[in-house]
Symmetry: C2
Subunit: 363 residues, 2 copies
């Protein structure tokens, strides 16, 4: 067996320790006589797993007691609908900052379901292919908006909010799909955090929602039962069968994060990994980072040579050398190295060595 | 390691061969250098898996070309909303037969989203705790309904439709969650089939929809993008990240079904397993089946002693002897043995031996 370095933007590389444990427990979890995949979600064995997962997540992220943790399905794309259906219920208006494709989809779905006239675009960085986080003019904020939406880390474009917007009493709702668990966040600053699991948390098919309790229970009329946060909050994420195996893998990933030292330690490692690659890019004559300064993501590092043929040659040779999924998103081109928690430092070091070699061979 | 006989109604037991293969491939699928769980859903490696899964399902179920196969999330509970939102679009009316909790939820959600006045209950078996499939009076059918909904196998109550209602030109929409892949069905008789995977197909978190193409593309205004079948049909179930690992497990399960001889062979094995337990129940002086005759499910066999204390004693002793999750649903009481495809014949034989022993010891 020879495992590659997988720079996929998601689904993404997982800690080898997690995969080994999952493999070892595939036919029997503990002395339960069954795989986690086979467990009734109503059994006490499975209840212990979901309880442990929630407790670990609360501890690792320091989630205040007045927030519910929900284990849902449907990805961030379902949240784009659930958020307006559940939250645009007082003034019926919301604010959006458009920092990329996913931020825009959250805005578009709110427009579709609650009316474009009710969705205020505070700022956008579309003018420069979303290569920066816009400075905000707070006079453009709606002080009575029902929520203010951002995508905190923009997977495709490699940008991240260095500082959260100060939205006062307006609940900040943030998509953390590609940065959750990468560093500590102050959950109390958010009304709601959501994330697809398939980057830093586990397999695709699990979506985690962390939501302040007062925001639950006022879904608009006509909201499907499964799209109402109250349905899931009232039933401990067990209104219907949850994605049981994905939750179990998240539990193993959280155990791994704890063993690494928690989110402060993850941040330190992630900053080290990111600095290795950004430092190389800043010193390279061939490769250039597409994002500058404080807007740079710790998780997704896009870069280009400026020559599409050379980009393609690099991607092909990288793959042949065991660095896979390094091609950039089609809307940006070039390359992108996604270096989530589970990417080891040596993966980044070896990638940079390979880039230096490629640069010297292709001058 | 000692695997139990798991009679859970779902999530449920899986073929040991499938779990072994999944364990073996957990750290590396083929020579890809990665787990299936880590694969980008946009990679050619993963595309090959989802294509193979769909091809196998089409072959095993003999799905006609004018039906789309969709791999979705959210369980049957999400389908309860998606069906009326997508299909109640011509006369805005639909017919329902209430044969249990899930059939009723499908009806209730349609009432909630499209108006109770538009949802016609053709028949119900609530009067006898859903212990039978009602005979239908076709004069109660609405000949211009947009669809006619049934739950083909009722997991909680252990009933199954022996014969499909003849709905003429009205599309028959059926929940096959607990009987899909258990025997051949004529897909062309349905407008749409849907099923949560966690009984006969794989892990929780994957929902399979098989839908006639002409029923796609007319969702009601205000339908969330993720709840529109067209979104998924147009994008090969890749509008957003699908539940990649669950689809892979389904592929392994379908391979196992093929190796067993396909659905004709599954039917034969399932009829044999069911007859072993029904024959015992019909001859027992202590245990009684709660469903009679042709309405009996091949997959879920509820039974009672008529004495709640004795039921509890049986469940406890069964568990201690390695027969788990045999307690009946709280709405029925007693016991229930779910004997899905992956339950081996010897599991049923040993259960019946244990029941006979229990009966002789507790006369």
């Amino acid at each position: 067996m020879s495992r590659v370095y997988n720079f996929s933007a998601g689904p993404a590389t997982l800690p080898e320790e997690v995969l080994k444990k999952a493999a070892d427990q595939m036919l029997e979890y503990g002395d339960s006589g069954q795989s986690v995949m086979e467990m009734s979600h109503r059994s006490k064995e499975y209840q212990a797993i979901i309880d442990e997962t929630e407790a670990r997540l609360r501890k690792v992220m320091n989630i205040p007691d007045n927030y519910k943790v929900l284990f849902l399905q449907g990805g961030a794309s379902s949240q784009f609908a659930m958020i307006p259906l559940n939250l645009m219920n007082k003034t019926g208006k919301a604010d959006f900052v458009i920092t990329g494709q996913w931020a825009n989809k959250a805005y578009q779905e709110a427009c579709k379901l609650c009316g474009e006239e009710n969705c205020n675009v505070v700022a956008s960085s579309k003018d420069k292919t979303f290569s920066y986080i816009p400075k905000l003019d707070s006079s453009k904020f709606n002080p009575t908006a029902d929520y203010f939406h951002i995508c905190q880390n923009n997977t495709i474009y490699g940008t991240k909010w260095a500082e959260l917007p100060n939205t006062g009493n307006v609940p900040l709702v943030a998509d953390l799909s590609s940065c959750i668990l990468s560093e500590p966040v102050d959950v109390s600053k958010y009304g709601m955090i959501y994330a697809g699991a398939q980057k830093n948390m586990g397999p695709a098919g699990l979506t985690v929602v962390i939501i302040r309790e007062d925001l639950i229970g006022n879904a608009k009329e006509g909201t499907p039962t499964m799209f109402d946060y109250e349905t899931h909050a009232k039933n401990g994420s067990m209104y219907n069968t949850p994605p049981t195996y994905g939750i179990y893998i998240l539990d193993l990933v959280l155990e791994w994060v704890e063993n690494k030292g928690g989110l402060e330690a993850m941040k330190e490692i992630n900053e080290k990994k990111a600095s290795i690659i950004y430092n190389f890019l800043d010193g390279s004559k061939m490769f250039n980072a597409t994002v500058q300064g404080e807007d740079r993501s710790l998780m997704n590092v896009p870069f280009v040579t400026g020559n599409a043929d050379l980009d393609a040659k690099f991607v092909a040779e990288a793959k042949a050398n065991g660095f896979i999924n390094i091609k950039g998103h089609r809307s940006v081109g070039g390359m992108r190295a996604s270096i989530y928690n589970a990417m080891p430092i040596e993966g980044v070091e070896k990638l940079v060595q390979f880039m230096a070699k490629f640069e010297s061979e292709n001058q």
